[in-house]
């Protein structure tokens, strides 16, 4: 689908405040409410706007520790990726799974209640994942910037 300038303005505003009422959104995007809802409908139907997800604060739920695990796999087995990803999905504390082209094969973003819990998870659930060759941990100290919208 062709993305028009009004579409871009709309998405820019929505990225900033996804829960704006239609009238307010239209005003900020410089569109009439009718035009605004027509553009929104078209963007949704074309799957450009897929929806909205809630942000959950894991810290507020008592998960104080977040760790980014950079994994390299034993790639001689053609099933290494599939087996590893399937097993990683079974670990409830894994929030994100990404695969990469680069030095890192897979990244797992993991939450834990505290360092003792993390230590346990690391030993019992991470190091036991299949085809794991190497793993490096980056422990999150602070979030400086999170999920900024695309520079449209």
């Amino acid at each position: 689908m062709q993305i028009s300038e009004p579409d871009r303005r709309l998405i820019r505003q929505l990225q900033r405040a996804p829960d704006l009422p239609l009238g307010e959104l239209a005003g900020r995007a410089g569109l009439s409410p009718a035009t605004c809802s027509r553009h929104l409908e078209r963007l949704r139907r074309a799957g450009v706007i897929r929806g909205q997800r809630a942000v959950i604060s894991w810290a507020a739920l008592g998960y104080e520790v977040q760790v980014s695990l950079r994994v390299t796999l034993e790639k001689s087995d053609p099933r290494a990726f599939d087996d590893f990803l399937a097993a990683a999905r079974e670990v409830p504390e894994v929030l994100e799974i990404q695969t990469f082209l680069g030095r890192v094969d897979v990244r797992l973003h993991v939450v834990a209640r505290d360092m003792a819990h993390y230590q346990h998870l690391y030993r019992a659930r991470i190091l036991t994942l299949p085809h794991l060759a190497e793993v490096e941990a980056l422990v999150q100290m602070s979030e400086i910037l999170a999920d900024r919208g695309l520079p449209l």
Partner: protein
């Protein structure tokens, strides 16, 4: 905050679709609209529900490439951390910045139109940041968000 089974169920479905109303949530989990609304309110007030994010087809909007960067600072004085954080957060293509402990000092997520565009961002924006040292780039191939321990 202590959450029960119904709170967890709410969080699981809201993580997929944050636009569900209290009425819709209530119908789904056998609660009245006011009871569901009170739960939502409590989760918001405790900060467990911390806002919404728009989910977009990035490729359709012309952003076909996402790169995760590990950045090591060359000079680790306190002032240089703040300068670095301010400057890196001002780059429009930088989607997120986390201060980490380990092999790198910062973890960045960068959105670019294509590999050539990423090269431009890397050379003209990232490599010239104050205090920047070693940089490692990994190009995102696939990404999956999991529900987490709910």
């Amino acid at each position: 905050m202590r959450v029960d089974e119904i709170d967890r169920a709410f969080l699981r479905v809201l993580a997929e679709d944050a636009t569900l109303s209290a009425g819709a949530l209530g119908r789904r989990f056998g609660l009245s609209q006011p009871a569901a609304w009170r739960r939502l309110r409590r989760l918001q007030e405790a900060g467990v529900l911390a806002g919404r994010r728009l989910v977009l087809d990035r490729e359709a909007l012309g952003f076909g490439v996402t790169v995760f960067l590990g950045v090591k600072l060359a000079a680790k004085r306190r002032v240089s951390l703040e300068d670095f954080e301010r400057a890196v957060s001002a780059i429009p293509e930088v989607q997120s910045v986390h201060h980490v402990l380990g092999l790198y000092d910062y973890r960045l997520r960068v959105a670019a139109r294509d590999i050539a565009d990423f090269e431009r961002v890397l050379r003209r924006r990232i490599m010239v940041l104050p205090g920047v040292g070693e940089v490692e780039a990994n190009v995102l191939l696939s990404e999956e968000l999991r529900p987490g321990p709910l």
